[in-house]
């Protein structure tokens, strides 16, 4: 059972206070998008073994959505951060690189190597 730091209210929140929301940093595709784009937006989600970016809502708490960078295999949490961003902030990426050199995720790469 996870604990995640809610970046909005500062609580180390027990998983039972939280609600998982799937993959983070999806780009919404609306009218005008191609069938493929829309299909991928709705259904093509990452499910890696390793570094992942996820959405969580502190539903039994401050009610805010936040993002977590987490290793799905070891459950190590590299950091949590604001949901109001389109990609992980540099500090989070650095934290992941420190622990998982060479990590990749969709179009993101973890190190210059």
């Amino acid at each position: 059972m996870l604990i995640l730091h809610c970046p909005y209210c500062g609580v180390m929140a027990d998983e039972t206070e939280l609600h998982g929301g799937g993959e983070a940093h999806l780009t919404r595709h609306g009218p005008g998008s191609s069938d493929e784009e829309f299909h991928d937006y709705l259904f093509a989600k990452e499910n890696p073994r390793g570094v992942h970016f996820e959405r969580w809502r502190h539903v039994n708490g401050c009610g805010k959505w936040f993002h977590a960078a987490r290793d799905t295999a070891t459950l190590e949490v590299f950091g949590t951060y604001s949901a109001q961003t389109t990609e992980p902030p540099q500090a989070i990426r650095d934290a992941i690189t420190a622990r998982r050199p060479g990590w990749t995720w969709r179009h993101l790469a973890g190190s210059a190597k």
Partner: protein, 1005 residues
């Protein structure tokens, strides 16, 4: 025979007699006894029968590892099966029954399985019951059902008399196990100032050490234990709990502790069990070790016990398992049992040491006491069936040729010790094989890791593979300090206490006794006592190609009993490794899963039973509804009146009366459960346009509009009336129980998609009590209450106003879900009941009639209005329901718009909403399908539609229904066939779904 010794027993209080019964026979024990020690003291060695062969089974151990001694305990509302006698404390008045036998423990019919044992090898059930297929139902299944299950289930109608609870505890360091290692680790951690919680599964501190003896810091180990406990109790940052087992270690330092508060004193105030839901920053497992049995023929005969268990019974409870005990071992520790027995005045005819070179100092001590010691010897077989009568001695190196027969009534065996690595392993801690001690021990380099990626579990003491007292204390001290340090607390310089270390000769692994035992012996050499798995079964599995230890476990059921292989695991996988010709570490262990020993369902449920099973949401009028005898139904977590039956009235009659009264004069509905959300801000208009399919930004202040809300994949998720309160503020009504979901949906998009939009949303659902005032006399009753102009001119259909109605602050919506002249009035919830009473009083002259959800449903169906959850099921889009009028064509975007353009969504073959009118006037069955010609690819009858809502309409005095039908709107007038479950068929014509007042004259007056 087994009996209570005249003296001794460090845990019992001989001045406090406790009487109990076993299978009806009255017996006595002492305070401090376990059920097991008390039974043994009354010469009850045989306590049950095994699962498969129904072989007589007696006590093997003295603790959590006991595989056999499971009893049904208690009676009536406190009966519970499968209670482990070794870990349950005796209490006065305890009632026990033995399990898994018929008709009695002594004479059991199932024991004939034994005679067929060689026909019931590993995998028997898998192989046997496959063929012939026809045998399954009448031969195999009844047999399996008769033999299945362990113990007797409590009476289904009886409710557990006890209460249970959870407790969330946060701590820096959690130490699991209160033996000397746990105590020392807790001391070392506690001295740093860290918050420490120390839990111990038994009622006593000290673990095995006081039984095994030794000296710490120049004092007897007993005194050391007492000193530790006193020191810990004096620390304000340390909490100690006995009778609290570490049940499981989970991700991110989450640990379950299972506290048995009143098992030893049933009926006392307070909960019986408490489930500790612990969040620990660091966990120290000081869970000790479990002795391994030896695999020799007849090692399951009652009277064959673990050497440590036998010793425990003598030292802790003053109980001897037998008068003459043969000790058989491959290590030095079992000599302690021989010595303890001799000190208690009991006979030890011989110690059989499988090691050719024999033991060390302890062996010398045994010899000095005059005990015969035979090196390089083992047991060929045990004689006796319900009780040991003797052993046949052989050379360990041979094939079992009997050298000598020795009469005895107990056998103390020791195959070495296995650290209790369960809690270390639960969350991913890895093990390493220690060749010297022939055991798996925690690999400190591969510890379980927490949220920060750092290790959070440290094993210490015997649980870490340390068995020497001095080494244990040193290891535990370091573990406690390390754990505290990891939580940011600085250990001092104090060192671990010095202990006297005794030299022991090394163990020699013995996986089979004798080493060359033939098949006849191996078929009687038990690995898993409860599930009847023998050495020969595991070897058979290996021969049949089972190489993975996990597969072998499932094929043979090795380790799958309630003891979860605590005794059998290592011996079994050693046999498997040998059969596969590979080293033990290559075979590995099966997965250790929580809980360590079974915990009660009551503890898991905690307070969530009876009225607290789940939350029930009540409106401000709930008490009134109940006082009226309303028949309530759950709608989500809400309780709503389904109808208000009068004395002698059926529910159907009540619904019909409520509808007629409403349509004829005046009905009242408690609509407080409707969700209400306020949306406000400079960008609220465009946000509303995104949330709803309709154009909401153009709604005029003071007006209402029916709105549809879809999910991003296009499906209709909620509907309701939206009112524009002011220039930048909208009030959104949602379905009952939908408020939280819709609120979350809005917040999700505001927080994660359009966070630059200036919009705030607040859920005000429960701020208001809301009432439908419905029927031709609705306006009259509001005018009578007075205070707000509700005339047609002042408040037209689909408008709202606010004011003080009958002296209460009100918001009045002129909306209708019934087709009648209708108002919905929202008042503060605290005034809800008072306002409701005023409506009843004022409405008396109009025969005011409260109505429930069923009348609401029927009236909306008569008007052809859809209901979320009836016409929708998560696969229906608004276009399916003919709601295109509520979908704006002017908007570039709204949630669900893109999805509704996908090929499947615009498929002309999607089923569409129509009315269904039975030709005979009957009511269509709910959910019935309209059938077509032919069969589909699965050979099923083709279907072309289904019923979504169906009622008897008292207004039309006939059955009415709505349904989704293939090309429905284009087939008006056609008649479709709907088979009923009984095979008969109802015919129904496709019609417009608006039955009542098509032109809306009634609502628009």
């Amino acid at each position: 025979m087994s009996t209570r010794l005249a003296t001794g027993g460090r845990l019992i209080d001989r001045s406090r007699l406790q009487s109990f019964t076993f299978n009806g026979a009255r017996m006595t024990g002492f305070a401090g006894d376990t059920l097991a020690s008390a039974l043994l003291a009354n010469d009850r060695m045989m306590l049950g029968r095994s699962f498969k062969y129904h072989r007589p089974r007696g006590l093997v151990a003295s603790g959590a590892e006991e595989p056999n001694a499971l009893v049904g305990l208690g009676h009536g509302a406190r009966f519970e099966p499968n209670q482990r006698a070794t870990t349950t404390e005796l209490f006065d008045g305890a009632q026990m029954i033995s399990q898994n036998h018929w008709p009695s423990l002594e004479y059991d019919i199932g024991a004939v399985n034994q005679a067929f044992a060689r026909f019931l090898p590993a995998g028997f059930y898998y192989k046997m019951f496959l063929f012939p297929r026809v045998f399954w139902k009448h031969v195999y299944e009844p047999f399996v059902r008769q033999s299945a299950g362990l113990g007797k289930a409590p009476d289904a109608e009886t409710r557990d008399a006890d209460t249970y609870e959870h407790f969330y505890a946060y701590t820096d360091v959690l130490v699991i196990g209160g033996g000397v290692a746990g105590l020392q680790a807790a001391l070392a951690a506690g001295r740093t100032g860290a918050r420490v919680l120390l839990i111990e599964q038994t009622p006593h501190w000290g673990g095995r050490a006081p039984v095994d003896g030794g000296e710490v810091a120049d004092q007897p180990v007993d005194d050391f234990v007492n000193q530790c406990v006193a020191d810990l109790e004096a620390m304000p940052n340390v909490t100690l709990r006995t009778r609290c087992m570490g049940a499981g270690v989970y991700d991110h330092g989450y640990v379950l502790g299972y506290e048995r508060i009143s098992d030893h004193a049933p009926g006392m105030d307070g909960p019986r069990h408490r489930l500790w839901r612990i969040r620990a920053r660091q966990v120290v497992t000081a869970t000790g070790a479990i002795e391994r049995p030896l695999s020799f023929a007849g090692n399951d005969v009652p009277g064959v016990m673990l050497a440590s268990g036998l010793r425990d019974y003598v030292v802790n409870w003053g109980v001897s398992a037998g008068d003459r005990t043969v000790v058989v071992t491959n290590n030095d520790d079992a000599y302690r049992t021989a010595i303890a027995l001799r000190h208690a005045g009991l006979e030890v005819p011989v110690i059989l040491d499988a090691r050719a070179a024999g033991g060390g100092a302890l062996a010398d001590a045994a010899r000095e006491l005059g005990i015969r010691v035979e090196n390089g010897k083992g047991i060929a077989r045990v004689t006796g069936s319900k009780r040991v009568t003797g052993v046949a001695i052989c050379a360990q190196a041979g094939e079992g040729a009997v050298l000598e027969e020795v009469p005895c009534d107990a056998v103390a065996m020791s195959g070495g010790w296995s650290p209790v690595v369960h809690l270390w392993s639960h969350c991913g801690g890895k093990l390493t094989w220690d060749e010297g001690s022939a055991m798996f021990r925690p690999d400190a380099d591969r510890a379980p890791t927490g949220h920060d990626g750092a290790p959070f579990v440290t094993a210490c003491g015997a649980a870490n593979g340390e068995f020497d007292l001095a080494a244990i204390l040193k290891d535990a001290h370091a573990a406690g300090q390390a754990a505290a340090r990891a939580t940011g607390h600085k250990p001092g310089r104090k060192a671990a206490p010095k202990a006297q270390a005794g030299e022991e000769a090394p163990l020699e692994p013995v996986w089979l006794m004798p080493q060359g035992a033939g098949i006849k012996l191996r078929m009687k050499a038990w690995l898993d006592y409860q599930n009847d798995v023998k050495v020969s079964d595991v070897q058979l599995a290996a021969r049949e190609g089972y190489e993975s230890v996990e597969h072998t476990k499932r094929y043979t059921t090795l380790g799958m009993a309630t003891d979860q292989g605590k005794l059998s695991n290592i011996n079994g996988l050693a046999i498997l490794s040998d059969a596969l010709g590979q080293p033990i570490p290559q075979t590995g262990t099966t997965t250790f899963r929580p809980p360590y020993t079974p915990i009660s369902f009551g503890a898991i449920a905690g307070e969530a039973r009876g009225p607290l099973f789940q939350p029930i949401r009540r409106t401000p009028i709930h008490d009134w509804h109940e006082a009226q005898g309303a028949y309530m139904e759950p709608v989500g977590q809400w309780q709503r009146p389904y109808c208000f039956p009068q004395p002698g009235e059926s529910h159907d009659d009540a619904v019909a009366r409520e509808i007629r009264a409403t349509r004829d004069s005046l009905g009242l509905l408690d609509a407080s459960t409707l969700g209400k959300l306020i949306v406000k801000g400079p960008d609220a208009g465009r946000f509303m346009d995104m949330m709803y399919t309709n154009m909401m930004s153009t709604l005029a202040v003071g007006k209402c509009r029916y709105g549809l809300m879809c999910s991003e994949n296009g499906f209709l998720m909620d509907d309701g009336v939206v009112a524009r309160l002011s220039d930048d503020t909208w009030l959104c009504h949602t379905t009952t129980g939908g408020a939280e979901r819709v609120h979350a949906h809005m917040e999700e998009f505001l927080q994660t998609e359009w966070w630059d939009w200036q919009v705030y949303v607040v859920n005000v659902t429960e701020q208001y009590a809301q009432f439908g005032v419905v029927g031709p006399n609705a306006r009259k009753v509001l005018e009578k209450l007075g205070g707000v102009d509700v005339s047609k001119e002042a408040l037209a259909f689909m408008q709202w106003t606010e004011g003080t109605l009958a002296g209460v602050d009100s918001r009045i919506f002129r909306i209708s879900f019934s087709g009648e002249l209708s108002y919905e009035i929202a008042v503060p919830a605290s005034m809800g009941r008072a306002f409701w009473d005023r409506l009843l009083t004022a409405g008396k002259e109009y025969g005011v009639t409260p109505y429930g959800t069923e009348a609401l449903h029927v009236m909306r169906a008569e008007k052809g209005f859809i209901m979320i959850g009836d016409e929708t099921d998560g696969t229906v889009i608004p276009q399916d329901l003919g709601l295109n009028w509520a979908i704006s064509k002017k908007k570039d975007d709204y949630i669900g718009k893109r999805a509704q353009a996908r090929s499947h969504m615009v498929d002309p073959d999607r089923w569409k909403l129509v009315g269904l009118e039975t030709l005979d006037g009957s009511v269509l069955p709910d959910g019935a399908y309209a059938v077509g010609e032919g069969v589909n690819a699965n050979g099923q009858r083709v279907v072309q539609g289904r019923v979504t809502s169906t009622y008897h309409s008292p207004t039309l005095d006939r059955g009415i229904a709505m349904g989704l039908v293939l090309h429905g709107p284009d087939r008006m007038g056609e008649v479709l066939e709907f088979p009923r479950l009984d095979g008969s068929v109802v015919q129904a014509r496709l019609v417009d779904q608006v039955w009542y007042d098509k032109d809306g004259d009634k609502q628009n007056v």
